[in-house]
Point group: C2
Chain length 271, copies 2
């Protein structure tokens, strides 16, 4: 287990604004902080983040970019907001950094638009568990829990949320709920938490408030999660990739409404 | 004036989905296409885009990353969707590409998360026109026009929109309205259109459906636009930068509601 700091930043700050009546109002807005990632004393990149889970974010970023292969490769993750930096120490350096950084793809994702290397090539190799199923009652339980979850979004807007949830008949409990100014930061932080806690994605549900673009689908697939649920819509490439990796993807999900787009063989509408 | 193709892609495609009643529905979803940018035959990066204005997007991307200094530096922009590529030919190459790519910042923006070089350093040098003013009646006229604008969002969701609009007393006309799966693509495409048409930003209003993060504020400032209006909220760093460059920034704007956050000296609530 890596040695970690626990250096969250406050989620919101209050600023003054004038409303349409000319009245002075105190408005909570989401924090946004630069966090430069150093790996083995080399600068890798700067993330802009809400700062709620910076250690898990750094770990999940390295995981989702496939720059480290296992949590055991990470010795320590130390965040120091005084210098807006997170120092990651690895056991044996990063995986093929030069090859991965040679091809940059700016994706439609928020937050971490760039994907090092070519994740698309990896998609071909992903196999999601075919036997897992999701009952409609479980989906509805998850949507209820997400709705009543206390969120920074409700205070400040301008933020994306992601959750990883369990999948039992009629019951879906939220294991992690992460919000960030960049949607991909939220996904990456959850990937980091899963590694830290030894949580496997193959029997879980991934929920996001954000759009299902190519990059979101790829990240969920990399975490082996067969069920991807979004309150929002999806894009053509998100749809195509979900179809290709045979992911069960549900969009426009809120209250008792949803659209099942792909992987319908895992969905049980009558349970 | 550069030699241009005009190679838009269809904005939406139709896919099948099952709704909560088990009924089969045809759903319009936003297109998402990879577009690899080659400059003088060298691969620069791959953008994921709706593909509505790929030539303006490529030009605006190079402009906003300050890789070209003037539209006159661009000889031609040719899009070929068969190979998912846009070939840009310049008169004299890109500005300091190595220096700019050395420092990568992943920002909270959608679409083009990475900013080459360090845009933040440039912020110090930006001076927005102090004399420009915006009347409340003009703001309301803009919000009315945006609301009634026929959008891809209304069909498919999963998309961000940006507009550049004029600013006359009580009247604001939309000059450009661009939607894309990445919010920053929409901003960049507008920057490209402004260059192509010789449109100056210093007397205009920039409207976005998306969140006002650091990167959005920086891009609007780089285009010399003093008025930034969003339907959504803002982040702490977006607020700080708008304050620093003295931009008039209005958030949560729809119907007859808004919050004026910064640059209030340019706003005329009684006009």
């Amino acid at each position: 287990m890596p040695d970690l700091t626990h250096a969250s930043r406050p989620a919101t700050v209050t600023v003054e604004a004038l409303d349409e009546h000319g009245a002075r109002r105190e408005v909570a807005i989401a924090g946004e902080h630069a966090l430069t990632v150093y790996v083995d004393k080399q600068e890798l990149l700067t993330l802009m983040t809400l700062g709620g889970a910076p250690e898990a974010l750094a770990i999940g970023y390295l995981r989702n970019q496939r720059l480290v292969e296992s949590i055991d490769d990470i010795v320590s993750v130390h965040v120091d907001w005084e210098v807006s930096a997170v120092a990651v120490k690895t056991r044996a350096g990063l995986v093929d950094l030069e090859g991965r950084t040679a091809r940059r793809t700016k994706t439609t994702g928020c937050g971490q638009g760039t994907v090092f290397g070519d994740l698309m090539e990896d998609v071909e190799r992903i196999r999601l568990p075919r036997g897992a199923t999701l009952a409609r009652s479980t989906l509805y339980d998850l949507l209820d829990r997400v709705r009543t979850h206390d969120t920074i979004y409700k205070q400040s807007g301008a933020i994306h949320g992601c959750a990883l949830a369990t999948n039992a008949p009629g019951r879906s409990e939220i294991l992690y709920f992460v919000e960030d100014v960049g949607r991909h930061n939220a996904v990456d932080a959850i990937a980091g938490m899963m590694w830290l806690d030894g949580v496997d994605g193959s029997d879980k549900i991934f929920y996001t408030t954000g759009r299902l673009t190519s990059e979101m689908v790829i990240k969920a697939a990399q975490m082996s999660v067969p069920f991807l649920v979004s309150r929002s819509g999806l894009t053509q490439m998100g749809h195509d990739i979900a179809d290709k990796v045979d992911m069960t993807m549900i969009g426009r999900a809120s209250n008792r409404h949803y659209l099942l787009f792909t992987g319908g063989h895992r969905f049980r509408p009558d349970e």
